[in-house]
């Protein structure tokens, strides 16, 4: 896959279709891969990499990059294309300046989970059916994919590219049987006290590093409400339990109806807070109350919170139906 991508990037750079490429670049270690822009074939040869650690959603970077001169080549995995489409819908990306190559994805590995399994000195990873072959300085290890995939990949919602100019490999299908709402349903079935305890335990870990906000493709405001010096909560750690709750409620609320459930927030969280559970709660509610909706599926139309019907349910439904 990496070879075909490099070949394609060089070809498109060579014939002038694009003047730069955004992809993934090797970091200090094999697993700390970072998104990077490449401007010529030499840079690509030196640093370009694509393997099972390349989980980053590149759509977010296109908000700024697509406003620059010239066309840019971007490699998007299926779930990234949903984010891309959603950003097109919000007029945040200049579509003419982007050349999308869709790449298949079989699920990305979480380096942290692999390390937790006692595997250290990782130098590479490759996919082998239902297993990952992890190369380490102590020799090769084989781990089952189901054990070390990112959470979002274990419940993958779709392997279909919703937008692309060109595809490498075959396009996949939407996974109708994804079990991504199971954990939300489980929480809903707890008592209020248990849920409160669960979320206090999780959210109190928050160090307000803002990584979830910075990586989120839906969080694309130029001026974020949490950067407002008058808000009292800008650029500082949460002081009380209230501030921890508020940051996460408001952040999830601001992306409600626009969140494509790409799972980047949970991936980057240094404290491993399951932030996707907040976003998925909104998605689940929207699906149940206002009809099934998958953000990013279409590049036109309105999101559930910017439209209404006269027959919508009343908020008292939360009392009637609500959580247990």
């Amino acid at each position: 896959m990496q070879g075909r991508m490099i070949e394609m990037a060089k070809k498109l750079l060579g014939d002038g279709t694009v003047n730069r490429v955004i992809g993934w670049k090797k970091g200090e270690f094999a697993y700390d891969i970072t998104p990077a822009v490449f401007e010529n074939a030499e840079e690509i040869d030196a640093d370009f990499v694509y393997d099972d650690f390349c989980g980053h959603n590149l759509s977010k970077y296109l908000i700024k990059e697509s406003k620059k001169d010239g066309k840019m080549l971007v490699f998007l995995k299926p779930c990234d294309t949903y984010s891309f489409n959603q950003l097109i819908k919000e007029h945040r990306i200049n579509r003419e300046n982007v050349y999308i190559v869709g790449i298949p994805c079989e699920g990305k590995a979480s380096a942290e989970t692999i390390k937790e399994k006692g595997i250290s000195g990782i130098t590479g990873i490759s996919s082998d059916g239902d297993n990952f072959k992890v190369n380490t300085i102590y020799g090769d290890e084989t781990v089952a994919k189901s054990d070390v995939l990112e959470e979002r990949c274990t419940v993958c919602k779709s392997k279909k590219h919703v937008v692309y100019d060109e595809l490498i490999g075959e396009d996949g299908e939407v996974n109708e049987n994804s079990s991504r709402f199971d954990m939300v349903a489980k929480l809903e079935n707890m008592t209020a006290d248990e849920r409160y305890a669960f979320w206090r335990n999780e959210l109190s870990k928050c160090i307000r590093c803002n990584a979830c906000r910075n990586v989120c493709p839906a969080c694309s405001c130029e001026n974020c409400v949490f950067d407002n010096p008058n808000s009292g909560v800008s650029n500082k750690a949460a002081v009380t339990s209230f501030e921890e709750n508020m940051f996460h409620i408001i952040r999830a609320f601001h992306v409600a109806g626009r969140c494509t459930d790409c799972g980047e927030c949970s991936r980057v969280c240094p404290q491993n807070i399951p932030l996707h559970l907040l976003n998925r709660k909104f998605i689940k509610d929207i699906n149940e109350l206002y009809g099934d909706y998958q953000a990013g599926e279409e590049s036109e139309g309105r999101t559930p919170l910017t439209t209404y019907t006269k027959e919508d349910c009343e908020p008292s439904i939360v009392n009637e139906r609500g959580c247990k």
């Binding site: 929480l187 809903e188 209020a192 006290d193 248990e194 849920r195 409160y196 305890a197 669960f198 979320w199 206090r200 409400v225 002081v239 009380t240 209230f242 501030e243 709750n245 508020m246 409620i249 408001i250 999830a252 609320f253 409600a256 907040l278 709660k281 909104f282 509610d285 929207i286 109350l289 206002y290 559930p304 919170l305 910017t306 209404y308 019907t309 006269k310 919508d312 349910c313 009343e314 908020p315 008292s316 439904i317 939360v318 009392n319 609500g322 959580c323």
Partner: protein, 146 residues
């Protein structure tokens, strides 16, 4: 806040200028009682209520928050309350999900002619909050220093 061991709830009511605020006024001119602990904040439309306002009210010591707007279809701005309805539903559901008592928040449609409904709603809501007691789960101790 506790005075003479009797819990006096603080309730914040966001009332839309065109219907509910006038409804509250009507309750007043009709001499209908509603608890003095209800603090009314006038907003141009129920959809002006940002979710942050509701959280902020809890932070600054509210024990309950109620939002009142025009009946669906009667919005002065045609559709504001329809948008508010979706937004507020999702927010209330999220608060419930986080384990915060769902009875602490409420939305009620009150028209300018419904002074009696306004007073009845507020009395009933205050009773619910008294039963629930002080807001502990969304409190900010710094704001309760006194």
């Amino acid at each position: 806040m506790q005075i003479n061991n009797e819990f006096k709830p603080k309730i914040v009511a966001f009332c839309c200028n065109w219907c509910s605020y006038a409804g509250a006024d009507l309750a007043g001119t009709n001499r209908l009682n509603y608890p003095a602990d209800v603090k009314i904040i006038r907003v141009p439309c129920s959809c002006r209520v940002n979710p942050m306002f509701i959280l902020r009210a809890f932070q600054r010591g509210a024990d309950g928050v109620i939002i009142c707007g025009c009946h669906p279809g009667d919005c002065h701005y045609t559709s504001g309350n329809y948008y508010a309805r979706r937004r507020i539903t999702l927010l209330f559901s999220m608060l419930d999900y986080l384990g915060i008592e769902r009875e602490r928040t409420r939305l009620e449609w009150v028209s300018a002619a419904e002074g009696a409904k306004f007073s009845a709603t507020m009395n009933e809501f205050a009773e619910t909050i008294i039963k629930l007691g002080e807001n502990k789960r969304l409190e900010d101790l710094r704001c309760k220093a006194e």
